[in-house]
Amino acid sequence: MDSIIQDHIDPADLKKFEALYRDQTRRGKVAEKTQFDYAWCLIRSRYQEDMHKGVALLEDLLKNEKDDLAKRDYLYYIAVGHTRLKEYERALKYIDAVTRIEPGNHQARQLHQYIKKKMEKDGLVGMAIVGGAALALGGLVGLGAALLKKK
């Protein structure tokens, strides 16, 4: 799963699909396929801004989609996007939606496990940071009190 989440797009590919998307936008009609290709590239970009944009484009596709297989694909990639953005809670919601369409989907299950693991790890790190901050704050207050006393 790591390989899928951490994999990056070749910037040349991103540029190519971006050009196609821009071109069609200018003409006033963007094909679903163009939007999807571009969104997928954005989600695999190194930059968070791109990933957000990719998610938004997929959300847009999802709104008008009737076909379950296509919906499943969009939902899964929105989940991948949120995962890459470390928005794990949101990612899990989309994975649930995939599983509702296809209960036995192993890709969804793998992504779910991956996220749970990340959340555990980040949760511990997060607690350590908060703990550390509290200590530091305590230290400052202590120092202030000491200074006050001196006066």
């Binding site: 390989s3 699909f17 396929k33 036995g104 989907n105 890709q107």
Partner: protein, 214 residues
Amino acid sequence: MAAGPYNYSYIFKYIIIGDMGVGKSCLLHQFTEKKFMADCPHTIGVEFGTRIIEVTGQKIKLQIWDTAGQERFRAVTRSYYRGAAGALMVYDITRRSTYNHLSSWLTDARNLTNPNTVIFLIGNKCDLDAQRDVTYEEAKQFAEENGLMFLECSAKTGENVEDAFLDTAKKIYQNIQDGSLDLNAAESGVQHKPATPRSPISNDQPPSKEGCAC
């Protein structure tokens, strides 16, 4: 492990391509897990698997990208072709249309990989001989005409699955040995891992790529 930081000396990148439902993911699963998935959903985008094999005493790690056959993913899965040392091109012996599309898959593979990429043609589902729609002979001929290696396999029974993956690796390794595959060339699809610890000079890999525990 005692020999150095890696327990393998090479990494080969593979891709698996072909129409929807021909059994690409089942072949990968059979090769990596030695199990058959009876109800396998259509792949979303790509899946990934690895296995360490041995070819003439060398440990080789295969990194396998299994692409979705759905048309929707065609453009994006193409970006995974680049830098593949081996390509397994799969059709379903019980569905003629999947065989008829091979030339288009082959064109993609040829255009997007390097000239030394080993392309292996797999006629899958050979356990369903009663429903056969493509003869062994014609596929064999197609393979010969196009310089492809070829086997009929079954992801269900496991027949010939090992051979397809291993023969591809043997051929790649042979290409390295006889010098026709230049490891220093960008996108050779092969990474050499020296057994003695040395500062890794990776050229085409993104930085900070963790070991693949997929």
